[in-house]
């Protein structure tokens, strides 16, 4: 039992080591999803808030475009965003921000889904990030009528590369 008294130091040390491991070496994919009710630290969804309206289930787009910001960790090599919309929603376009100003690459694709409309976009270039290391996605629908798109869920999958000295020197240089 004498070691119990060290728990107050062992626990903080273990937690800090875990964060350090994830920051420098961890390669496991990070995933998150939201039904727009539960919070998730990975992404902020459907901004600005005034352009969407909560419905059951999901969020109804009133005006477009809306944005989804995904916070990406160090050593990210690929971010895949998936959106699901109700089957009677009009088609939407999914893009990712590439530069300062309105520079978006619309390469999102509709993929097969049963009973839902499903869109996916895989981003592999991170030349431009919002403050706080956030990658910005855009949801646009030129034919949008208020309420004609209801997004019911979003999920993100982040892949990371392994540790390398080149990455570390770049990271240190950007501090």
């Amino acid at each position: 039992m004498k070691y119990v008294w060290h728990l107050r130091w062992i626990l903080p040390a273990a937690v800090v080591m875990f964060i350090a491991w994830q920051t420098f070496f961890g390669t496991s994919p990070l995933t998150g999803s939201t039904d727009f009710v539960a919070r998730t630290s990975l992404f902020q969804v459907l901004l600005p808030a005034g352009r969407v309206e909560r419905v059951q289930p999901g969020m109804s787009l009133q005006t477009e475009p809306v944005y989804i910001d995904v916070r990406i960790p160090p050593r990210t090599v690929q971010v895949t965003l998936e959106l699901t919309a109700t089957p009677d929603s009009v088609p939407l376009q999914l893009g990712v921000r590439q530069g300062n100003g309105f520079e978006y690459l619309f390469k999102g694709q509709e993929i097969q889904g049963t009973g839902v409309r499903r869109y996916s976009l895989r981003a592999t270039s991170f030349s431009y990030l919002e403050p706080g290391r956030r990658l910005r996605f855009i949801v646009s629908a030129p034919k949008l009528q208020p309420g004609s798109i209801v997004i019911t869920g979003a999920s993100v999958n982040i892949m990371r590369q392994g540790f390398s000295w080149a990455w570390l020197s770049r990271a240190l240089a950007s501090l």
């Binding site: 039992m1 119990v4 008294w5 728990l7 107050r8 130091w9 062992i10 626990l11 903080p12 937690v15 800090v16 875990f18 964060i19 994830q22 920051t23 961890g26 990070l30 009710v37 539960a38 919070r39 630290s41 990975l42 916070r71 960790p73 706080g132 290391r133």
Partner: protein
């Protein structure tokens, strides 16, 4: 008549909970500072709210303030505390159902921990 193992278990459980609570509390402060300095550094991998809730509950269970030291009031208070913290800090449907049994378990642990005083 209490057996030795009952005294020993109650003491050990309280000691471990108090120390774990203190450790998690210290860890939370450090992680909070890291998150302030660099947003996302911690929150991408760990839930700070959950760590804080666990630290507060464990610390209170391990080192109870005097009014909560009585077994039944302490058990009820810790059950309510866990449920409220859970529902406030992690408001989603999964936690709603998880926090109630967790609260009950916390209450039971508190009760066992307080038995040594009787």
């Amino acid at each position: 008549m209490k057996h030795f193992w009952q005294h020993s278990l109650a003491l050990n459980v309280r000691q471990v909970m108090g120390e774990a609570g203190l450790g998690l509390g210290l860890a939370w402060w450090f992680l909070f500072l890291l998150e302030l300095i660099r947003p996302g550094l911690v929150s991408l991998y760990l839930d700070l709210n959950l760590i804080l809730a666990a630290a507060v509950v464990l610390w209170l269970l391990g080192t109870p303030p005097a009014p909560l030291s009585r077994p039944y009031t302490g058990a009820a208070a810790s059950a309510v505390l866990v449920a409220i913290l859970g529902l406030t800090l992690v408001p989603n449907s999964a936690w709603l159902w998880l926090s109630l049994p967790l609260g009950a378990i916390a209450g039971l642990l508190w009760y066992v921990a307080q038995q040594e005083k009787m």
